[in-house]
C-alpha cells in the first residue's frame, strides 16, 4: 500500500485479530499489544473488560504532525446503554461511553482529542468531541443499533461533525475552539479505544459498540465526495494512492419473478404430463391424476347445468360434436 501523505493513523480490524494496522507516514505495522481482541470482518467489538492501546510503530506515539487541522473518521455500530439514575436526585442521567481518545504521552497523559458517546432520553445516542483546549461539541442524535459513519474535521476556527455523510448542526457547544489542536504539546500521539482516562462512575460506562476503519489525517477534509467514497467503497479508496485516482461506475441489473404465472409448454411422455411455467417451474403429474381432476371438473360442470352439445353430421368423415356457447378450459 502507498498511503497519501496526510494520513497519519489507520486502524482496521479483520477476521484475524492480528490484522489490525497502524500507519505512520508510509509505514504499516501490526498493532503492538498482545491483546486477544474480539474482532470480525465487521470490526472490533468493544468489551467491558478491555481497551485497546496504540503506541505507534516505534512505541513513541504516532507522528501525526497535527497543528491546526485534522480529520478523524470511523465506522461505528452504536448500542445504547440506557440511562443512569442520579444517586442524589433520583433523576435520569445520560451515560457517557468512551470511543476513541488521542493523548500526548510526552510526560503525563494529556487528552488531545477525546470522542465519547452519550445516551439520550429519547433512546438515541449522540457523539461528543472534546479537545485539549477545553472546547467540546455534540453531534445531533442518531439511532443506536445501526451502523453509522462518523467524520469529524476541524481547522483553526471551527469543527464539523458529519454523521453518515450529512453535516450535523453542532449541539451544546462549550468553550472556544483553540487555534492549535495540541495546545503546545507534542504531536506524537497515543491512542486508546474504549478507555476513559477519568475512570468510571454511575454515569460513565464501557462502550459495547463495534468500531472499524479508524483513520486520522492532519488536514481538514470536508469533501462529501470523499466521505461518499469511504462509506460506499471503503476507506482505502480515500487514503491509498492505488485507489485514490480511480473512479467507479456502478450499475445494478435487476431481474425477478414474473408477476403473472403462465403455462408456456406441455409434454405428455405417456407416463407423465410435464407442464412448463414461465417462472421456470416444471410441474409433473400422472395422467391418472389429471384425469381424476378432470372428472371432478366434469362433475362440477354437470352440476352447474351441463354443457349443451349439438351433434352435426353422421359419418366418420363429416360428423362432429359442437359445444354451444361454451369453451373448454385446459
Amino acid at each position: 500500500m502507498a498511503f497519501i501523505n496526510s494520513l497519519k493513523f489507520l486502524l482496521r480490524f479483520g477476521s484475524n485479530s492480528v490484522t489490525t494496522e497502524e500507519v505512520s507516514q508510509t509505514g504499516l505495522v501490526v498493532m503492538g499489544d498482545n491483546l486477544t481482541i474480539s474482532s470480525s470482518d465487521s470490526g472490533y467489538l468493544m468489551q467491558d473488560d478491555q481497551y485497546l492501546f496504540g503506541d505507534g510503530p516505534s512505541s513513541n506515539g504516532y507522528n501525526t504532525s497535527i497543528t491546526e487541522e485534522y480529520t478523524l473518521g470511523f465506522w461505528f455500530y452504536s448500542v445504547t446503554s440506557g440511562l443512569a439514575i442520579d444517586s442524589t436526585t433520583g433523576g435520569l442521567l445520560s451515560i457517557e461511553m468512551p470511543v476513541i481518545t488521542f493523548v500526548d504521552g510526552s510526560s503525563a497523559e494529556h487528552s488531545i482529542i477525546e470522542i465519547t458517546e452519550h445516551t439520550q432520553t429519547s433512546g438515541n445516542n449522540s457523539l461528543k468531541v472534546s479537545e485539549r483546549g477545553g472546547y467540546s461539541a455534540f453531534s445531533e442524535e442518531y439511532e443506536p443499533n445501526k451502523w453509522h459513519h462518523f467524520w469529524i474535521t476541524r481547522d483553526s476556527g471551527s469543527l464539523q461533525i458529519f454523521v453518515d455523510a450529512v453535516e450535523n448542526t453542532l449541539q451544546n457547544e462549550s468553550g472556544t475552539i483553540s487555534t492549535k489542536v495540541t495546545e503546545g504539546l507534542e504531536s506524537f500521539l497515543y491512542t486508546y479505544i474504549n478507555h476513559s482516562l477519568d475512570g468510571y462512575g454511575e454515569a460513565v460506562a464501557k462502550n459495547s459498540g463495534i468500531i472499524d476503519d479508524i483513520f486520522l489525517m492532519n488536514v481538514r477534509n470536508n469533501s462529501q465526495s470523499d466521505m461518499q467514497r469511504v462509506i460506499n467503497d471503503g476507506v482505502l479508496y480515500m487514503i491509498d494512492n492505488i485507489y485514490t485516482s480511480t473512479n467507479i461506475v456502478k450499475s445494478d441489473v435487476y431481474i425477478n419473478d414474473p408477476n403473472v404465472i403462465t403455462i408456456n409448454s406441455m409434454v405428455d411422455d405417456l407416463s407423465y404430463i410435464f407442464v412448463g411455467r414461465n417462472d421456470g417451474k416444471i410441474l409433473r403429474g400422472s395422467p391418472l391424476f389429471w384425469e381424476t381432476r378432470k372428472s371432478f371438473s366434469d362433475h362440477e360442470e354437470y352440476a352447474s347445468g351441463g354443457i349443451p352439445l349439438e351433434l352435426h353430421g353422421t359419418g366418420t368423415d363429416d360428423g362432429f360434436l359442437k359445444l354451444s356457447q361454451n369453451t373448454i378450459r385446459l
Binding site: W147, T246, D252, P258
Partner: protein, 338 residues
C-alpha cells in the same frame, strides 16, 4: 473525469433498442440499459426522501410503474408512481446502504427487462451490453476524457443462491476515429491521411457516419477499407444519393466495430479468443480487464466514443424454486488520469 454509460446492443447501428431480449451483441444502440436522471439533493445512509431532477426527456413517462431505482451500488424500492419527489419504500433492498450525493446518477429499474425467463437446455441465457465513453469536453476543455485501465467486476452477484451471473469482455476490433474526407462518392469515402495507417479491412463492419453538410447524420456500414488509398467502401444496396454535390467533402466519424452477435439469447457467444475473454465471476480484487493482453490498440483505455462490450451469462440451477433476489451489480473501475 471520463463518463461511462451502459447501452443495449442491437442488430443494426444507430437504432433505439426497445426489445431488451434482443440486446445480444452487434452494434451499440442509442438506448441506455435503464432510463437515467440525477439526484437533486444529497441523502444520507438512512434517509428515505429523495429528490430527483426531471429526466432529460422532460417526462417521467418512462418511469411509471417501475419498482426500484438504482443509485450507486444500492437498490431502492419505491412506490410505483415517480416524479421529482419520492419517498423510498425500502432503502438497501439489496442489503447495500450507500450515501448518495447531489448529482449522482439515478436509474429506473424494472424487473424482467434485460434478462427474462427463457433459458437453454443448460439453464443459461446471454445478453450483451456496451460500455461507452460518452465524455465531452465542450464545457470544460481541461477535463480528462479518457478512462484509463478499465476494469470490470461484479460487485454483488445474484442474491439467489441458485442463480449465478458471469461476465466476459469483448473488445471491438477497431476503435473510434474521426476525420475530414478528401473525396467521396455514392459508394466510398476517402481520407488520404489514413493511407497505410491501418491494416487492410481494419474497419470492416464498423459504422461510418457523416458529421457535416447536408448528409450529416447519415451513416453506412463499412464493407471494406483499402489501406493503400485510405478508402472506405460500402455495401452495394446502401449508397449515398447520386444527386449529392461530391465536390464538398464532409467530416466523418467511424464508430467502434460491433461485437459478435448471437442468434438468440440462449446461445453462448464465442469466448476465450484474443478479443473475448472467458466467462468469469470477477470481484473487486480480481477484476476482468484487457490490461495484459496484446491488442491492436490499448482497449483498456477508453477514449471518448470508444466502447467495450460486456457479455452476461446467467445460469440457474435445476430445481430453483424461486426467482427472487436476482439482481446483480456491475462495477466499472478506471483511473481518472494516466
Amino acid at each position: 473525469m471520463a463518463t461511462l454509460k451502459l447501452y443495449l446492443t442491437s442488430l443494426e447501428p444507430n437504432l433505439n433498442q426497445t426489445v431488451y431480449s434482443q440486446s445480444i451483441g452487434g452494434y451499440v444502440s442509442n438506448s441506455l440499459v435503464y432510463p437515467e436522471t440525477t439526484l437533486s439533493s444529497t441523502i444520507g445512509l438512512y434517509d428515505t426522501s429523495l429528490s430527483l431532477a426531471t429526466p432529460s426527456s422532460g417526462s417521467w413517462s418512462e418511469w411509471q410503474g417501475i419498482e426500484y431505482i438504482n443509485i450507486g451500488n444500492e437498490l431502492i424500492k419505491i412506490p410505483s408512481f415517480v416524479n421529482g419527489s419520492i419517498v423510498a419504500t425500502q432503502r438497501a433492498y439489496n442489503n447495500i446502504y450507500n450515501v448518495h450525493l447531489d448529482g449522482d446518477i439515478v436509474r429506473a429499474i424494472a424487473s424482467k427487462e434485460l434478462l427474462n425467463d427463457v433459458f437453454n437446455d443448460s439453464y443459461k441465457q446471454y445478453r450483451c451490453v456496451a460500455i461507452k465513453n460518452v465524455s465531452t469536453n465542450s464545457t470544460d476543455p481541461s477535463q480528462e476524457q479518457v478512462a484509463y485501465d478499465l476494469e470490470v467486476f461484479i460487485k454483488q452477484n445474484s442474491r439467489n443462491v441458485k442463480s449465478d451471473i458471469k461476465i466476459a469482455l469483448e473488445k471491438p476490433s477497431s476503435e473510434y476515429i474521426s476525420g475530414v474526407s478528401t473525396s467521396w462518392s455514392t459508394l466510398s469515402v476517402v481520407d488520404s491521411l489514413l493511407i497505410n495507417a491501418y491494416e487492410e479491412d481494419y474497419f470492416k463492419e464498423a459504422y461510418l457516419k457523416i458529421t457535416s453538410g447536408v448528409t450529416s447524420g447519415q451513416g453506412k456500414i463499412i464493407k471494406g477499407f483499402a489501406t493503400d488509398t485510405g478508402t472506405f467502401t460500402f455495401y452495394d444496396g446502401d449508397t449515398f444519393s447520386s444527386s449529392l454535390d461530391f465536390s464538398i467533402t464532409p467530416t466523418y466519424e467511424v464508430l467502434p466495430s460491433p461485437s459478435q452477435r448471437v442468434k438468440t439469447g440462449i446461445i453462448s457467444p464465442d469466448v476465450g479468443s484474443s478479443n473475448v475473454t472467458q466467462f468469469f465471476n470477477p470481484d473487486e480484487f480480481t477484476t476482468l480487464t484487457f490490461f495484459e493482453q496484446a491488442s491492436v490498440f490499448n482497449v483498456s483505455n477508453l477514449s471518448p466514443n470508444d466502447v467495450m462490450y460486456v457479455w452476461i451469462e446467467r445460469t440457474i440451477e435445476k430445481g430453483n424454486e424461486e426467482f427472487l433476489n436476482n439482481d446483480f451489480i456491475l462495477n466499472l473501475r478506471y483511473k481518472v488520469s494516466e
